[in-house]
Amino acid sequence: MNRIDPDFKEKLKPFGVGNWAECFHCGNCTATCPLTDESHLFPRKGIRWLQMGLKKKISRNLDPWMCYYCGDCSETCPRDANPGELMMTLRRYLISVYDWTGISRLFYKNKIWELGFIVIFALLIVSAFFIFLPPDPAIISNPGAFINAQGGVMINSLSTGLGNEQFLRIIETGDLIMAITVGLLLISNIFNMWYKVILSDPDTRVPLFTYVKEFWRLIIHFAVQPKLSKCDDKKYWLGHFLLMSGYTIMFILIVGLLPKFQVENIYPWYHWQRILGYYATFGILLFLVNVFIRRIRKNDIKLQFSHGSDWLFIILLFLTTVTGILIHILRLNGNPLATYYIYVAHLAILVPMIMVEVPFSKWSHLAYRPFAIYFSALKKATAEKAMKTSLATAI
């Protein structure tokens, strides 16, 4: 049963903006959307549920994830009700619903919490470095000792009293701990989503076979976002793809392949390690600069209403990328002390960013979107099967 929560509109306010009370239900948004289909009629229905305060219905609904926000609905809305932004807001809300720890809700509701978390985490990393892995005093007296045969800084030898292999192992262990924590949180959140969307729905009993049969969707939609390319702006898809693939490559490089990525040698520019690094940096930076400009100019309807979490995400990613580039330049220039400090700063931004963004904030959509499409396909397949069975028995 759906209970009405009259204050739901108020509760949704911290997650975004919108004039949804304006909606007079003409259906223009649903009909203009290139992604609506029989099983997902949005955004109008979502606005209806919101106006009625059907909180439970909204929190178990997958429609917001089907929207890739091209902004057509908001542009042509006869009431300026901004349905596109509502979908964005509901996605933020759903992220907080799936997150069983409640941290996500805290972050969305109050910027201080989020910022505080990031600052404290960054300070922890900085102090850990200065206590356990301080810079070698010899860097100042004899910088030449930290330069390799190619004239670059040997990045793993900068800490005092540690061999380079030992240093790398410590960093690698730290990386793994971060990845496992984030992974566990995210997986448990997806489990929560699965519970809310599939398990607690009495009408949907998905057979195991269907899970296997539809699994390809998860992979495809994670890897190349075919739905986003159906949204009218193909350039946006390309930009997003560059960002996403660049980010994924970087993540694999620093978590799984760190011993091969963070090496003492400076490889020639055409070495795969450098090519991949350059590709990722280019992809991320291109998208970021583009989004920065558009969010500031506000001439694109989908980037007009930036939530605090949107800004935080691009600022953190930008700082991470810039410090990463700086490390690279400083290493090539043979400047060991600056390399050390920037390296610490890089990690002090990177680690809290991943800890906050991936399980609790904007980035979790990398998992929720493909899973939503997967779950939706499961529901659809089950419903179709049930329909066939009931037809067969009827005959």
């Binding site: 239900h25 259906g27 009909a31 203009t32 289909d37 009629l41 109008r44």
Partner: protein, 603 residues
């Protein structure tokens, strides 16, 4: 004797697009002189949110009545009704003062506001306190616009034996109504109602019809206006032309017919439509070969009447005197190509409702045969009576109306005329499937809801949901709509789409507004002196409004308003007095008058 109620005044600081801003502090100071006011709220919190807090203050100051002053104060009236109720006072004791409404150009806003506040506090409608100020009136009346409203007003005044100048800018009177096939909800033939009236106008001894003319300037004062009228050169003598049509047969130039909304062609020398009044030909200088190049003159050669066509005729200016002016300039249909998602102008079979009116009309370009547009030998898209008929049609409501991106208001007539067109299509092509896509069905008038039900029963598919876009696919039009009541997406292929375009203020509205000194409301229509109790007068003395120039309305309402305007005119002629323009009355006098009237009331 009525007791004075203790009053609280609330200033509503609503944002509005008025150029002057109000000095609220000064107004608060001014209201100190009124003894019954015990509390003034002058807060920028708008709209107010906490009725409990106001109820508390109402109780504390023992307020029995509340005056809400500001821009459109009625919007927050329910809030104060609630607050009064909570304070256990009579909730109906709320008065409104719309300070920004109808202010004449150049009037200081604060002074204007004071007059309005005093009138409101005295319980005297603002325009009533103006009434007794009169200028002596001339008995002639000028009517601008010869549509149904102008015709109706002209006949009413002329039938009471007063002179009327009816100025019409096109070559015929009749306006938009002449283009319609049938009228809703009775499905009467529009021409059968209109044409006798048109003929009556042309033959009436008290009406001087000036077609193909425009008001050039207006001067003088209420009761005695001097009007300069530009009589554009018709180049055909109205007195001698017999309307035989030989000239048009031979004329070498064809252009799109305005009367047929471009669905047919007319010659450079033409009669707008067969029942035109005056039933005479005229020459369109913009397309006439002789006027443009100096070489042609075929019409002069073939004309059987001597000296009837004078290709070198020049525009003339005539001057008339008028005591009252009725503005009946009408509307223009919304330009459908502005909404690119519907492909008007891109897909040949997406047409507007007015084009459809011409297609269904037996006197229209196809003789009443609804056909698909086809290409002629030169590749132009035309309506050919022999082309195939559409087998499925869709009508989309609210094109350009009720839309924040275009016009916010409801155009009032589109729902009903769409239903009417759906019926007429069914009459002409019984096997056609007709779909109507609407947001809300506004069948608000006498017999209208019944008409809606009737059309629904006739088998028209009436679907709640606004079509969002039209694409062309396999030579058919594909409409995407959310079928809200059945909870599904609809992708409907049809042969022809009719866009129910809304009404917009006519293109001359701006010019006429500044010429006559009458204000326009936010959405561009001429502003009446009181939206409820005086919808045909303006705050400029002797200038009245009739028909759609004041706001979208249907034929019955236009006729009613025209008659009302005519009655105001006749009244002023009988009383030999025209109200002064508001701008010329000292505000002190208005306040004085309001207080006098209210004193009479109390006794």
């Amino acid at each position: 004797m009525r007791r004075t109620l203790t009053t609280g005044v609330y200033f509503s600081h609503t944002a509005n697009n008025h150029s002057q801003s109000l000095d609220y502090k000064e107004l608060c100071g001014y209201l100190q002189i009124v003894p019954e006011i015990t509390k003034i709220w002058n807060s920028s919190e708008n709209p107010p949110t906490d009725p409990e807090h106001f109820a508390e203050e109402i109780r504390k100051n023992n307020i029995e009545r509340i005056l809400i002053a500001g821009y459109r104060p009625g919007f927050i009236k329910p809030f104060f009704a609630k607050a009064l109720q909570k304070a256990e006072k009579a909730a109906e004791n709320i008065i409104l003062a719309d300070i920004f409404n109808g202010i004449p150009n150049g009037m200081p806003l604060n002074e204007w506001a004071k007059a309005k506040l005093i009138c409101a506090l005295s319980g005297i409608p603002f325009d009533i306190s103006l009434l007794s100020e009169h200028n002596p009136a001339q008995s002639e009346t000028l009517i601008i616009g010869g549509g149904i409203a102008g015709i109706q007003a002209a006949l009413e005044i002329a039938n009471s034996h007063h002179k009327v100048y009816l100025v019409e800018k096109t070559g015929t009177i009749g306006g938009h109504m002449a283009m319609f096939d049938k009228t809703f909800p009775t499905l009467d033939c529009a021409a059968c109602i209109l044409t006798p009236k048109m003929v009556e106008v042309s033959q009436h001894p008290y009406i001087e019809l000036m077609s193909y003319s425009e008001v050039k300037s207006i001067s003088g004062m209420p009761g005695n206006y001097r009007v300069e009228i530009l009589k554009k050169a018709r180049r055909v003598n109205v007195k001698t032309c017999t309307g035989c049509g030989t000239c048009a047969e031979k004329c070498p130039t064809s252009v799109k017919s305005e009367f047929d909304q471009g669905t047919s062609l007319r010659k450079a020398i033409y009669m707008p439509f067969p029942q035109a009044v005056p039933n005479k030909y005229l020459i369109d200088a913009d397309s006439c070969r002789y006027v443009q190049t100096g070489k042609c003159g075929v019409c002069v050669k073939v004309c059987p009447v001597e000296n009837c066509i004078d290709l070198d005729e020049k525009d003339q200016v005539v001057e008339v005197n008028a005591g009252n002016v009725i503005v009946a300039t009408g509307f223009k249909p919304f330009e459908a190509s502005r909404m690119e998602q519907y492909g008007y102008g891109k897909y040949p079979n997406v047409i507007t409702s007015l084009e459809m009116e011409r297609l269904v009309n037996a006197a229209g370009p196809t003789g009443g045969n609804i056909v698909l547009r086809s290409q002629d030998k030169k590749g132009n898209w035309i309506f050919d009576a022999d082309s195939p008929q559409p087998k499925s049609l869709a009508l989309i409501h609210c094109i350009g109306s009720r839309d924040e991106n275009y016009n916010k208001y409801c155009s009032r007539v589109c729902c009903m005329y769409s239903l009417k067109l759906a019926h007429l299509i069914g009459e002409k092509i019984p096997e056609a499937e007709v779909f109507e896509y609407y947001i809300d069905m506004r069948a608000y008038g006498k017999g209208y809801e019944e008409f809606y039900k009737r059309i629904e029963e006739e088998g028209v598919h009436i679907i709640r949901g606004k079509t969002a876009k039209i694409d062309e696919k396999n030579n058919r039009l594909l409409l995407r709509t959310e079928d809200i009541e059945n909870d599904r997406m609809l992708e409907q292929s049809v042969d022809m789409v009719v866009l129910a375009v809304g009404l917009e203020p006519g293109s001359d509205t701006d010019k006429i507004s500044s010429m006559l000194g009458i204000s326009r409301s936010d959405d561009g229509w001429f502003e009446e002196s009181d939206a409820l109790s005086n919808t045909n007068q303006t705050l400029s003395g002797g200038i009245l409004l009739a028909g759609t120039c004041q706001g979208p309305k249907d034929i019955p309402d236009s006729v009613v308003q025209a008659s009302a305007a005519a009655s105001s005119v006749i009244q002023s002629i009988m009383q030999k007095g025209v109200p002064k323009s508001l701008a010329s009355i000292p505000l002190e006098d208005i306040k004085q008058k309001a207080m006098e009237l209210s004193a009479v009331n109390k006794d």
